[in-house]
């Protein structure tokens, strides 16, 4: 097993910390792995809950992702630990979506997204903060109503910032399909938000 700290030269202190923790976890240090869990659980939950808008299913998917990461510690090939964990989590979220699809009698509940925290650097102006939160809530509700494929593509592209090729690889479809899912998904969102577009304009 390569020494990750030696093979991956990085000046980023967060990545250096992650690699040290991962190296220790690979040597059997559970506390080091749990430190990584603590660092990334909120970020990964926020990612999954956008893809799987049912909070319980999203929690289960995140837990499954951490289990999977622990089982596959030896499979980490260097690079960014955050990206590695994100990819495992995205796979777990897509599995959760498929599971949900097989049980159509259990529909997505409306998003009770009071736990969403506005950006730390948001303007202190209460009107702006409230408007931003309202826009976010409306958008999340609309996202919960479009198809799984469109939602996944939109979340990965617009929210997570992956490029078309990466999304195509993660979702096992062509780049053309990814592009069409993104713009059709946005069209569907616009259809759902047409009454509330004043929130988004200007």
């Amino acid at each position: 097993m390569e020494d990750l700290r030696a093979t991956t030269v990085t000046d980023d202190p967060v990545q250096r910390r992650d690699l040290i923790l991962l190296e220790r976890a690979r040597e059997g240090d559970l506390a080091a792995f749990n430190d990584l869990v603590v660092c990334y659980q909120d970020m990964l939950f926020a990612l999954v809950v956008r893809m799987v808008p049912d909070r319980d299913s999203a929690s289960d998917a995140v837990q499954e992702a951490f289990f999977s990461a622990y089982r596959n510690l030896a499979g980490f090939r260097g690079g960014s630990v955050k990206s590695w964990l994100s990819r495992i989590t995205i796979n777990a979220a897509m599995d959760a979506q498929r599971l949900k699809k097989r049980r159509p009698a259990d529909p997505y509940p409306e998003l009770e997204d009071d736990t969403w925290q506005p950006p730390a650097d948001a303007s202190a102006d209460p009107v702006t903060t409230s408007l931003t939160a309202e826009r976010h809530r409306a958008l999340n509700n609309a996202l919960a109503q479009i198809t799984n494929d469109q939602r996944t593509a939109i979340v990965l592209y617009d929210v997570e910032g992956y490029d078309y090729a990466e999304i195509a690889e993660m979702t096992s479809v062509s780049i053309g399909t990814v592009k069409s899912r993104i713009h059709r998904g946005r069209l569907a969102l616009r259809g759902l938000l047409v009454e509330r577009m004043d929130l988004f304009r200007g």
């Binding site: 559970l30 929690s59 289990f67 990206s83 925290q117 304009r201």
Partner: protein, 237 residues
């Protein structure tokens, strides 16, 4: 064209009817930046420029895209603690240390694969050269001995190879049987290659050639594996 005498409702209907014929997906693709073909971009641009409904759609889609990107900065608090317990770890990774050991072993093997492969390839090449030279020497030496034995050294310019086989096998056999051997003995001996002392399949040079070929192949395989592994490691995670 809308009839100037028509009422506002009729005008709106006419605009809506015209817009219904427009390709909204093309406008959406333009707003997302998904159009690559110059012609498609021009057509979509034309729709946005000339049709108020397409323009509004384009603006809305851009606004939604912006809101989605801004939403990335929103964070959510995980509803529970996802840390693994010792029981989880035992259940999932009871073999972590074994797997760690195997991974470590594989890592160290990968580490030496490149130098080992290069050494084996070099040794194989040298062996091939030495073996070929030895076999070439063994093939040419009996030829001259044979010529002397038959009492007629090849005259300069005479095509010796044309009258005698150039095959080292036949030359060697002539020598091994000796000048007193009868043609029957020779034929019997020649019919059983395993008894021939000069069989190149058994000679040290042939063994060296075979071994070198094996070494060369193994070395190249190791180098190939090390190269593949190196490329995979350089690829972004």
């Amino acid at each position: 064209m809308v009839d100037p005498g028509a009422g506002p409702n009729e005008a709106a209907l006419a605009v809506a009817a015209r817009h219904a014929l427009h390709d909204e997906e093309q406008v959406a693709a333009l707003a997302t930046g998904n159009l690559e073909d110059e012609g498609d971009v021009a057509r979509a641009r034309q729709l946005v420029d000339r049709c108020a409904a397409c323009r509004e759609l384009h603006q809305d889609l851009e606004a939604i895209g912006g809101a989605l990107r801004a939403g990335a900065r929103f964070t959510a608090t995980a509803p529970r603690d996802f840390r693994l317990t010792a029981d989880d770890a035992r259940r999932l990774g009871g073999t972590v240390s074994t797997r760690g050991f195997l991974a470590r072993l594989r890592g160290s093997l990968v580490g030496i694969a490149r130098p080992l492969g290069a050494s084996m390839t070099a040794l194989g090449l040298v062996g091939l050269l030495v073996g070929s030279a030895s076999l070439g020497g063994a093939a040419s030496a009996p030829l001259s001995v044979d010529s002397t034995v038959n009492g007629s050294p090849a005259a300069p310019g005479e095509n010796n190879a044309g009258t005698r086989s150039v095959s080292p096998l036949s030359s060697d056999r002539s020598v091994a049987l000796g000048p007193g051997a009868t043609p029957e003995e020779g034929a019997a001996k020649a019919g059983d290659p395993s008894e021939s002392d000069g069989d190149p399949g058994r000679s040290p040079a042939a063994l060296l050639l075979g071994g070198s070929l094996g070494l060369l192949a193994a070395g190249l395989i190791l180098l190939g594996l090390a190269f593949r592994r190196g490329r995979r490691d350089r690829a972004p995670a």
